[in-house]
């Protein structure tokens, strides 16, 4: 009974889960347009097909209401499964935070994080770099 409840709550929560507004442009254009926006940091998410840690991030972290709301409010989000030219990525998921000049802000997030850790990290980035 508890299991059924659990599954259905997960299912329902996934339907009503918030979602991140991913940029439809490429990374360079996304960075370039930062100056026009009120958010001043790009969160660039590099993922890979067949990467279970990436699946975890998409399913359990980015779909979370609180997380997506926070990200949409403070960051411009970009995701790709292509190998980036300018930012070293050797493993997935990797998340870079980038300013309007294309500079990396803080350390990139490498590997999957749980909700709390992820929230903590992005709040830190936000406080440190957006003035």
């Amino acid at each position: 009974m508890f299991k059924l409840f659990l599954v259905s709550t997960l299912f329902i929560s996934s339907i009503y889960a918030g979602s991140i507004n991913w940029s439809k442009e490429n990374l360079d254009d996304t960075i370039e347009k930062l100056s026009d926006k009120k958010q001043k940091i790009v969160m660039a998410y590099f993922w890979l097909e067949g990467c279970n840690a990436c699946e975890y991030m998409s399913d359990r972290v980015f779909n979370d209401d609180e997380v997506s709301e926070y990200i949409n409010k403070n960051f411009i989000s970009f995701k790709t499964n292509k190998i980036p030219m300018d930012y070293p990525v050797f493993a997935y998921p990797t998340i870079y935070f980038i300013d309007e000049d294309g500079n990396e802000l803080g350390d990139p997030i490498m590997g999957a994080k749980n909700l709390d850790e992820f929230m903590f990290t992005i709040e830190e980035i936000k406080e440190k770099f957006s003035n």
Partner: protein, 572 residues
């Protein structure tokens, strides 16, 4: 409430994920080592304890030339563990790729073995798919292994030569020569040699074993010289020799020589060395026999020509030698190898010669008749050579005339036995005549169009260039058979009439793409196609399965239906 529950679940999950940014770089996470052992190419993947790789993403392939073949299915892997509902491997994996497998797939050429894998860290991070490669040099030594690749006849000989050791090569070739002497190839030489000895005793002198041997030695040496020249020319030019020997002009000249020899047999004239040479040779050799030099030139010419006549028959070993010689450009070794081979081939002939000399009955008037019989045989040889270049109808007419003519001649002699033989010859002549009238196409079966039961022939698609062939191969889904053919090639016709018209053979080949190259014109494209398969001329049959050439069943020379089915049965 829901949110809190979710949080608990996620926290549970996250306990499996290591916190922090202390991730391993790929080369620390996956330590690889590839080494080549005696039998395998061994790939060892040592994973850090937090690392696992996906079973599904493990992929091993072999790249050679422009092709690449995945061999994952053919290898043995450790049993995977299940982690987060996925089949994965932890710890250390060793994957062995047997060299035999690589050799089979690449047909013994150099290759690159590729190991592809993808893995993740338990800490919640995945790595890009990785590829490790090792170059694999094909090993000649591997021939010594029990599961060596089977090669066709000419392949084996080329291999022996390629192994290097000069003494070994020469001994091997002598051995090949001896073996060849036991094949039907040399049979046509026995009557020729006997006829020479008989004709040389025609002058009424006693034919001794010594003299028989002497003539045989000249014959065999001349034959060896012919092969040696072939070897040297091949060494110097890497030339397409057999095709050159089948050139119409060469064939006309040779058959002309045979006609001339035939008339010499009929007693119109005698071929001999200039008298000054004769005396010298007499002094050097058989001093007691003043006239021993007589006809020596004729013997030498016969020996030389015999080598060329049986050329197509000894094609497989000869081709093997020529392939190597042409490839190395070592004219000296090539010449020596072929010389030794033909000496080996001629050894039994020396015995025949000595025997023929010794046991020859007392000479008399009948010897002239024997000479005439051999004269007829010579004419037959001349027609046989011309057959390759003249229209089949004309060949029938010539055969018919030969049998008819000799039949009539015999009949005129009038004695009882010769009349019987004459009648037989006349009948054969008439049968050939019928062949002419009914437009028979097979010289071995002049009455094919008289008795119903017409044989069905295989339909071949003609291929003209290497490119055309490559296109067909790369677009093929069925097995392919490529037949090298030429109008002048008797063995090709035998193949067509006996083997390809056989019901069982046709049945076996019914799913094949049948290709044929007509090398009659011996154009540059034809030569390129022959060269591509290291062939020196038709007949040669090459097979492909799954777009891969099956070198072990390459067929050179004529094979009857049973042999043919046996050979291709190895692969199909």
């Amino acid at each position: 409430m829901i949110y809190k529950r979710l949080l608990i679940i996620l926290l549970l999950l996250s306990s499996m994920l290591n916190a922090g940014n202390s991730f391993l770089m790929p080369d620390q996470a996956f330590k690889t080592n590839i080494e080549t052992t005696k039998e395998n190419v061994e790939f060892t993947l040592t994973l850090d304890e937090s690392i696992y790789i996906y079973d599904e993403q493990l992929e091993i392939s072999i790249a050679y030339g422009k092709e690449s073949t995945e061999i994952t299915d053919k290898l043995v892997f450790p049993i995977p563990e299940i982690y987060h509902e996925t089949n994965v491997h932890f710890g250390t994996l060793t994957i062995k790729v047997p060299k035999i497998l690589i050799q089979q797939i690449t047909n013994n050429s150099d290759a690159v073995v590729e190991f592809n894998f993808q893995g993740c860290s338990k800490a919640g991070l995945c790595y890009q798919p990785m590829t490790k490669t090792i170059e694999y040099k094909s090993e000649k030594i591997a021939v010594a292994q029990p599961a060596k690749e089977k090669k066709s006849e000419s392949g084996t000989i080329a291999d022996t030569l390629a192994s290097g050791d000069v003494a070994l090569i020469l001994i091997t070739f002598f051995g090949f020569g001896l073996l060849l002497a036991l094949t039907p190839c040399v049979f046509p030489m026995i009557p020729i040699l006997s006829s020479i000895i008989v004709s040389h005793s025609g002058g009424g002198k006693d034919m001794t074993a010594k003299r028989g041997l002497y003539l045989s030695i000249i014959y065999v040496l001349a034959m060896s010289v012919a092969y040696t020249i072939a070897g040297v020319i091949a060494g110097l030019f890497g030339a397409n020799l057999q095709a050159a020997l089948q050139n119409p002009i060469v064939l006309v000249i040779f058959s002309g020589v045979f006609v001339a020899l035939a008339f010499s047999m009929f007693g119109y004239y005698e071929l001999s060395l200039p008298s000054t040479w004769q005396t010298k040779i007499d002094k050097l050799t058989l001093k007691e026999d003043e006239e021993s030099g007589h006809g020596v030139l004729g013997v030498a010419i016969m020996g030389f020509l015999s080598a060329l006549i049986v050329g197509p028959c000894v094609a497989p070993p000869l081709a093997g030698a020529l392939v190597y010689i042409g490839g190395t450009g070592d004219a000296l070794l090539g010449g020596a190898a072929l010389f030794v081979m033909s000496i080996g081939m001629g050894l039994p002939l020396l015995l025949v010669g000595a025997g023929a000399g010794k046991y020859m009955p007392k000479p008399g008037g009948w010897m002239d008749n024997v000479s005439k019989v051999f004269g007829v045989v010579m004419l037959g040889v001349a027609i046989w050579m011309l057959e390759r270049i003249i229209p089949i109808g004309f060949t029938f007419i010539l055969w018919s005339l030969l049998f008819f003519g000799s039949g009539l001649y015999l009949f005129r002699l009038g004695n009882y036995i010769s009349k019987v033989i004459a009648s037989l010859l006349l009948i054969i002549g008439i049968i050939f005549g019928i062949g002419v009238a009914t437009k028979a196409t097979n010289i071995l079966d002049p009455l094919e169009n008289v008795f119903g039961d017409k044989k069905t022939h295989l339909e071949f698609k003609r291929v003209h260039t290497v490119k055309e062939l490559d296109d067909i191969i790369s677009n093929s889904t069925k097995p392919i058979m490529l037949d090298f053919y030429a109008d002048w090639c008797i063995s090709c016709k035998e193949l067509e009439h006996n083997t390809f018209s056989n019901k069982e053979v046709q049945n076996k080949l019914k799913d094949f793409i049948l290709l044929q190259v007509d090398t009659t014109a011996n154009s540059d494209d034809d030569k390129a196609l022959l060269k591509r398969f290291n062939l020196f001329g038709p007949p040669g049959i090459i097979f492909w399965k799954n777009k891969k050439e099956l070198k072990n069943i390459t067929i050179i020379g004529y094979k009857d239906p049973k042999e043919f089915l046996n050979i291709i049965g190895k692969e199909f």
